[in-house]
C-alpha cells in the first residue's frame, strides 16, 4: 500500500525531504519505524511521535495506508 510520510521540523533535514510516498505492506507503527530507521539512519538519534490520519498513535497501531506525520519536539520560543 501507499503511505505518505510527512516529516516536521528538523526531521525533514535528517531525511532530506519534507514528505515522501512509501510502498509498504500492512504493518504496525513499530514496523514503519524499523523501515524508516533503515532508510534514514539519522532518525534513530531523534525523538519523535507518529500520527496517522492526524491522530497520534502507539507502537502497536496498524497502519491503514493513509497520511502519516512524524513529529519531533520543538524547543524554540
Amino acid at each position: 500500500m501507499h503511505i505518505e510520510i510527512k516529516y516536521f521540523g528538523m526531521l525533514a533535514e535528517v531525511t532530506g525531504c519534507s514528505s515522501e510516498i512509501l510502498e509498504l505492506s500492512v504493518t504496525p507503527v513499530s514496523g514503519l519505524k524499523e523501515f524508516l530507521f533503515k532508510k534514514h539512519p539519522g532518525l534513530q538519534q531523534k525523538d519523535f511521535r507518529i500520527a496517522q490520519n492526524q491522530e497520534l498513535v502507539s507502537e502497536e497501531t496498524m497502519l491503514t495506508g493513509q497520511e502519516i506525520a512524524i513529529l519531533p519536539p520543538f524547543a524554540g520560543g
Binding site: F8, G9, K33, E59, L71, P73, F74, A75, G76, G77
Partner: protein, 358 residues
C-alpha cells in the same frame, strides 16, 4: 469604555466578556520571540493582571523578532523593558515582573496567583517544569514552540485534556533538539505562533469557540500548510506527575542538561545488584566480556531485540568509547525504557573495574 469598544460591540464578547478579560490573571513565561506578541495582544485586550517571567537581558540579536524592545533596551532586563513598553500601551492593567529563572523551588509560588499559564520558553527543562507544575496546580497551559520556519500551538491541561507529557513523555537528550539561538529562526514566525497563543488565552477566558485542547496545531511558514494532530490524555502519565511532584528535575533535567547526558561512571554502579548490562559493540569487537548479566546486542539490532531488555532492572549500556552507548540510551528512552544509562569510558572502564574487584 471606549478602549475596549471593538470587543464590547461583538455579540460573542460584549460587556460581560470584557469584564471576564479584565478579571483574568495570566502568567507569560518567557519574554522573547513568543512572549512579545503574546504580551502585546493580552495587554491590549485588557487582561486584568499579567505576570512575566524572564531572567534574560535584551541582546541585539533579539531585536530581529522581539518587537517589544528598543535598540536602547540592549542590556536591560527583558521584564523591565517589556513592562515599560506595555504599560504605555495600556496603563489600566497590572503587570507583575519576575526577573528570575523558573525552577522547581519558585514555580508553585509564582503560578498560584494566575488562572492561565502561557509557555513561551526556549528550552525543554523549563517546558517540562511548566507542564508538571500546571498539572499539579490544575491550570490550563497555552503552549507554543518554534523551529526555524515551523511552529506548534496547543492548549494543555484544559478541562481534562492531555498534557505535554502525553505528547512527549520525557525530555529529549541534550543536543538532539537545538534552540533558536543556535540555529536561527524566521523572525516573523514567533509573531504568528505567539498571536495564536494569545488567541487561545482569550478563547479560554471568554468561553467562546473551541480552544486547541487535545489538538496540536502545526504551521509551516514556507508552505502555509497547517496540520492539526489529535493528542489523547494519558492518565498514567498525568497520575505519575501528580504523584512524584516536581522532583523530575533530579532524574531528567539535570542529566539532559549536563554535558554527559545519561552517562554514568563504573564506580557508581559496580556494587549494585539488579543491573542489566548491554554491550552494543559489533560481535567481533574485542575484548569480549563474558558475564551472565551482559546482553550482547549490536546497536543496529537494538530496536529489533527490545523484548530481551528488562524493564525492571537498571540498564547500563556500553560500547568502546561511549558514543554508540549514548545513542542506544536515546533509542531505549524513546521506547519508554527510562532507567538506562551509558557507561563512561566504555568497555575499558568495565575491564579496569573487573580487574580491581577480582
Amino acid at each position: 469604555m471606549s478602549r475596549y469598544s471593538r470587543h464590547i460591540v461583538l455579540d460573542e464578547i460584549g460587556q460581560a466578556g470584557q469584564d471576564k478579560i479584565s478579571a483574568a490573571k495570566v502568567l507569560v513565561i518567557g519574554a522573547g520571540g513568543l512572549g512579545c506578541p503574546v504580551l502585546q495582544y493580552l495587554v491590549a485586550a485588557g487582561i486584568g493582571k499579567i505576570g512575566v517571567v524572564d531572567y534574560d537581558t535584551v541582546d541585539e540579536s533579539n531585536l530581529q523578532r522581539q518587537v517589544l524592545y528598543n535598540t536602547a533596551s540592549i542590556g536591560q532586563k527583558k521584564v523591565i523593558a517589556a513592562k515599560e513598553r506595555l504599560q504605555q500601551l495600556n496603563p489600566t492593567i497590572t503587570i507583575e515582573t519576575y526577573p528570575e529563572k523558573l525552577v522547581s523551588e519558585n514555580v508553585i509560588e509564582i503560578f498560584k496567583d494566575y488562572d492561565i499559564i502561557v509557555d513561551g520558553t526556549d528550552n525543554f527543562s523549563t517546558r517540562y517544569l511548566i507542564n508538571d507544575a500546571a498539572i499539579i496546580l490544575d491550570k490550563p497551559l497555552v503552549y507554543g514552540a518554534i523551529f526555524k520556519f515551523e511552529g506548534q500551538v496547543t492548549v494543555f491541561n484544559y478541562k481534562g485534556g492531555p498534557s505535554y507529557r502525553c505528547l512527549f513523555p520525557t525530555p529529549p537528550q541534550k543536543g538532539s533538539v537545538p534552540n533558536c539561538s543556535e540555529i536561527g529562526v524566521l523572525g516573523v514566525l514567533p509573531g504568528i505562533i505567539g498571536t495564536m497563543q494569545a488567541n487561545e488565552v482569550l478563547k479560554i477566558i471568554l468561553g467562546i469557540g473551541t480552544p486547541l485542547s487535545g489538538k496540536l496545531y502545526c504551521f509551516n511558514t514556507l508552505t502555509n500548510q497547517s496540520m492539526t494532530i489529535g493528542i489523547n490524555r494519558e492518565e498514567p502519565t498525568i497520575a505519575m506527575v501528580k504523584q512524584r511532584g516536581l522532583n523530575f528535575e533530579n532524574i531528567e533535567e539535570t542529566t539532559f542538561c549536563s554535558n554527559n547526558a545519561f552517562e554514568i561512571g563504573i564506580e557508581s554502579i559496580i556494587s549494585e545488584d539488579d543491573i542489566q548490562f548491554i554491550d552494543v559493540r559489533g560481535l567481533s569487537e574485542m575484548p569480549r566480556i563474558e558475564r551472565e548479566d551482559i546482553l550482547e546486542i549490536p546497536l543496529p539490532q537494538l530496536t529489533k531485540r527490545l523484548e530481551l531488555i528488562s524493564r525492571k532492572k537498571k540498564i547500563i549500556i556500553f560500547c568502546k568509547s561511549g558514543i554508540r552507548s549514548a545513542q542506544a540510551v536515546a533509542i531505549l528512552k524513546e521506547q519508554n525504557i527510562t532507567n538506562c544509562w551509558s557507561l563512561k569510558d566504555g568497555v575499558s572502564a568495565f575491564t579496569k573495574a573487573l580487574s580491581k574487584t577480582t
